[in-house]
């Protein structure tokens, strides 16, 4: 048994020889360092010394001073909570640690190019997400990041939906809106008075009030390079591959939002569960409606073809300036190389269209002697063509150069010639003394004749208007005239006049009849079925108008009375007047006419003056100035008494 006694500076001799004791170490050097030279702290009964506190003392160089206590109750937000990085050492923060430090671009300064890695991550999550294939939740909960330009605009007073540019006055915007509505033919404003009020309000707005211009709608410039129909969106592969009873009608022409709805809406049970338990073997069993595909086939596109990843970032290598500088450098050379005229404001496209999918079709091959000049209806000589061709041409009556029916072609035919060509029956009657009539009157008669002898007039039976009702003789003559017109008799007018009447009377009647015939011509058959003649009493009442029953006395008398200052009976009129029942109630007085059905002054119907009372003779002044009918046997009254 050798007891070791540590004696300073004394060498101890043991049985195994002299033992070299370590030199005595002062207290401040009694420290232990690890391989990196950091002090190791041991507390408690460790051999090898203490390293606690400040060189084995407690506190600081100045001795024990307690740290001043600052309450962090009010400053909880300012207090920096410990981050995981606080507890990590160099190892962890190194390249192979758990939290390696890298320099990456922040979102503010990141370019807009796609991040391949992020896209891949997104694809993976989309597969494993509860709703397969659609990153709906991600799109819903996307961070609202607006670009620096939008932020700048907002700071300068722009709001979403406004246009960018100098402010305009309200009128201009309104005019533009008005022209837009006019161009599309929309209905006129519904309330006239409010419209006018708005305009009046507009007049009273302050002059210097301006508004932001309208925003421009973005136009999509992506060319359509496929051969699908317009609006075709394609098949949603997941919807198509669902199969079984789940696959109903697949609508190829849905908008993206519709697809979203369909995905949300048709979440039936039995759909393939993707909630983290996808894969072979899952979903196969007796309880499942649809068995998973257990014969899993691997697809080569799942695997990368290039090791080590692709080009990091988006290939810009930190280039952050606007892209236009890049582009213009390229395109100027191209533009210069282009032979031909480039329109102002346009430039050659940077990426070509895929010609094979579009299928640009070449123009047709022209024959060698083709000249792009068109002759209209070359006249074909009959002799030079074959008899078959001549026959065909003859029947079509297009190319014949022979026997033009009339001088000016088929558009200058006379009615007689036309009737002959059509094969209609000729009209009856001969022309009696055509020189008697003035050309204007003849035209009118022709018109009357054509109107009344047409097929539509024949269809109308017995429902013609009788303009001369008050004079039965005249009406009878008029009826006769109309009947003969219907039959197509040219001399209808002459035949229907009364030969016992004087020349002057007959002239008047002639004109009246023609005018009446033209005025009251039968309506065309297509419309006549929509109209029907009113009852007989309506015809009488059409000549009446409603006036108040009690009229004022003569104004001139009253004016005279006023001039003489004789007010009273001469200037006053009293009428019966019915107040409204509700008005009496509101005034709290009994209704003076409780049973009356009308309001205001009572009205009656009076005769209007008929139009035919004022039918005058036409042009010739002598006829109108001629004296009264001289002593005729039948004193036929010329005009009805009014």
């Amino acid at each position: 048994v050798c007891s070791l006694v540590l004696v300073q500076g004394v060498s101890v001799v043991t049985s195994s020889g002299p033992v070299e004791y370590p030199k005595p170490v002062p207290l401040h050097e009694q420290t232990v360092k690890d391989e990196k030279g950091r002090y190791q702290r041991f507390h408690g009964a460790f051999t090898g010394g203490f390293s606690a506190g400040y060189f084995n003392t407690v506190g600081t160089k100045e001795g024990w001073t307690p740290a001043t206590f600052v309450s962090s109750r009010q400053q909880k937000a300012g207090r920096q909570n410990a981050r995981p990085e606080d507890f990590m050492d160099e190892e962890d923060l190194g390249d192979h640690g758990i939290a390696p430090r890298q320099i990456t671009t922040t979102a503010d300064f990141a370019s807009g190019r796609k991040d391949v890695i992020r896209d891949k991550a997104r694809a993976i999550t989309s597969l494993s997400a509860p709703i397969p294939g659609d990153t709906v939740l991600e799109d819903l909960v996307a961070p609202a990041r607006s670009s620096m330009g939008v932020e700048l605009l907002r700071k300068m007073g722009w709001k979403d939906g406004q246009g960018v540019g100098p402010r305009v006055k309200r009128r201009l915007c309104k005019q533009r809106a008005d022209s837009a509505t006019r161009a599309f033919g929309s209905a006129s404003p519904p309330n006239g008075s409010s419209e006018s009020q708005d305009e009046e309000d507009g007049e009273f707005l302050p002059e210097n009030l301006t508004f932001a211009p309208k925003d421009v709608t973005p136009i999509d410039f992506t060319p359509k390079v496929d051969l699908h129909g317009l609006g075709y969106r394609g098949l949603n592969p997941l919807a198509a591959l669902r199969g079984g009873p789940g696959a109903g009608h697949i609508n190829l022409f849905t908008m993206d939002s519709d697809r979203t709805n369909s995905l949300f809406g048709e979440d039936r049970k039995g759909q393939r569960r993707r909630g983290g338990v996808a894969g072979q073997g899952f979903g196969v069993g007796a309880m499942e409606d649809d068995d998973e595909d257990i014969y899993h086939r691997d697809i080569m596109s799942n695997y990368d073809t290039v090791l080590g990843g692709e080009e990091p970032g988006d290939g810009l290598y930190g280039w952050t300036a606007p892209q236009q500088y890049n582009r213009t450098k390229k395109d100027h050379s191209k533009d210069a190389a282009y032979l031909g005229k480039i329109l102002e404001g346009f430039t050659l496209a940077s990426d070509k269209l895929e010609t094979k999918t579009v299928g640009i079709f070449p123009p047709p091959n022209l024959p060698r002697d083709f000249r792009p000049v068109h002759y209209f209806r070359p006249v074909v000589d009959l002799s030079s063509v074959s008899p078959m061709v001549a026959q065909a041409l003859q029947t079509s009556r297009g190319h014949m150069a022979q026997e033009a029916p009339s001088k000016g072609g088929r558009h200058q035919l006379d009615s007689a010639q036309r009737r002959e060509l059509l094969g209609e029956a000729t009209l009856q009657g001969s022309l009696l003394n055509p020189s008697r009539f003035a050309p204007h009157a003849e035209q009118q008669q022709q018109e009357a004749l054509s109107v009344w002898s047409g097929p539509t007039a024949q269809a109308q039976t017995g429902q013609t208007f009788k303009p001369f009702e008050r004079t039965p003789h005249k009406q009878a003559r008029y009826d006769l005239y109309i009947d003969q017109l219907k039959q197509g008799d040219r001399d209808a007018l002459e035949l229907s006049l009364d030969p016992t009447m004087t020349e002057w009377e007959r002239g008047r009647e002639r004109d009246e009849f023609v005018r009446a015939a033209l005025l009251y011509k039968p309506s065309s058959s297509s419309l006549s079925c929509r109209f029907t003649r009113g009852k007989q009493d309506d015809g009488v009442e059409a000549d009446t108008v409603e006036v108040t029953r009690d009229q004022e006395n003569d104004v001139d008398d009253k004016q005279a009375a006023v001039k003489m200052k004789m007010f009273g009976k001469l200037t006053r009129d009293t009428f019966e007047w019915h107040p409204d029942n509700l008005l009496c109630k509101r005034f709290n007085i009994p209704d003076p006419y409780p049973g009356s059905g009308f309001v205001g002054m009572p009205k009656v119907k009076r005769d209007k003056f008929s139009v035919f009372n004022f039918l005058t003779v036409s042009e010739s002044p002598t006829a109108s100035a001629s004296p009264a009918p001289q002593g005729n046997k039948q004193s036929v009254p010329l005009y009805p008494d009014t």
């Binding site: 004016q559 001039k563 200052k565 007010f567 006053r572 009293t574 007047w577 005034f587 205001g600």
Partner: protein, 316 residues
């Protein structure tokens, strides 16, 4: 010992200018007392209607809502509602306290010249340049008038309502009195476009001013002329006329900047108030006291009688 008879009250005239109110409304088209005479309404050409206190001359409230000049206004008997009419063809019923538009009554085809409540403020009557008088119901929520009176052949320039009668004056030179109780319409021919009509306080006469610079007092039942008052100038503008609160005097605006006041019975000119240089557009007499409101250009003047006319002299 018998007490001496009380001295008969000498009729007083509002010849002292008590206050001038600058309304800041553009031109004041009409000035009206309310039902009890403590407040006044001024209708401005800047589309606003203002309520003022007469005794203090302070602005109480401004009512905005019309689209064009306000031409006339009236207050209800309980001071809870106002009605006003405007060149924007509408009649507006206002709530006095809140200043809100209770109802905007549309229907007239032209500017509405005159408006008035009936006794119980259940009906608003308005006359317009389109020749119609429309009776609007304030109780119901309908926007159609109860009745439209279209007997006038030209624009209706003025109207007044009494218990059971409606008096309208038209540019066609006729005064029409609709008697609701009897169910009759009486038309008096004046031969000159009428600018203002009013009833007398006793209900026996009507006062009519027309563009031949004449104010006429007509008997209501027979239509006879009881008095004719001239001297003022009324040739082109629609100016107001009125009777004093006790029917002792006839007052009328004039285009020469004065207000003329005649004795009703004798017809002699008693007073010529010098309001200003421009046309005096409107006037209104207090319902019970001797107080007069006049409107000229953009200002309203309040006149009172702080002195009496006794024994041939004016004494304070």
């Amino acid at each position: 010992m018998s007490f001496p008879q009380p001295k008969p009250e000498v009729p007083q005239l509002p010849q002292n200018l008590l206050r001038t109110i600058d309304c800041q409304q553009g031109a004041v088209r009409a000035v009206r007392f309310n039902a009890d005479g403590n407040y006044l309404l001024s209708c401005g050409s800047d589309k606003s209607l203002k309520l003022w206190s007469v005794s203090r001359g302070t602005l109480l409230k401004t009512y905005s809502g019309h689209g064009y000049e306000v031409l006339d206004a009236d207050g209800s008997y309980d001071n809870s509602q106002l009605c006003s009419c405007s060149s924007d063809k509408t009649v507006i019923l206002w709530d006095v306290a809140t200043g809100q538009v209770t109802r905007k009554l549309r229907g007239h085809a032209g500017k509405v010249n005159c408006v008035q409540f009936n006794e119980e403020a259940t009906v608003i009557l308005s006359g317009s340049i389109d020749g119609t008088v429309r009776c609007w119901d304030t109780r119901s929520r309908k926007f159609d008038p109860i009745q439209i009176l279209d007997e006038a052949q030209d624009g209706v320039s003025s109207l007044k309502v009494s218990e059971h009668e409606l008096l309208t004056g038209s540019v066609d030179g006729r005064v029409r009195r609709y008697d609701l109780r009897m169910g009759q319409l009486h038309v008096d021919f004046i031969n000159s476009p009428i600018t203002c009509v009013c009833f007398s306080a006793d209900g026996q006469c009507t006062l009519t001013s027309s563009l031949d610079s004449t104010v006429r007092l007509l008997d209501k039942s027979t239509g006879e002329m009881l008095g004719e008052y001239t001297g003022h100038k009324m040739k082109g503008y629609k100016l107001d006329c009125c009777l004093s609160s006790k029917d002792t005097h006839v007052l009328s605006c004039s285009e020469d900047g004065h207000v003329y006041c005649w004795d009703l019975v004798e017809g002699s000119l008693m007073l010529k108030l010098p309001v200003g240089k421009a046309v005096v557009q409107s006037l209104s007499f207090h319902p019970s006291e001797t107080r007069l409101l006049t409107a000229m250009e953009g200002r309203v003047q309040v006149w009172g009688a702080d002195c009496t006319y006794e024994h041939g002299t004016w004494t304070k």
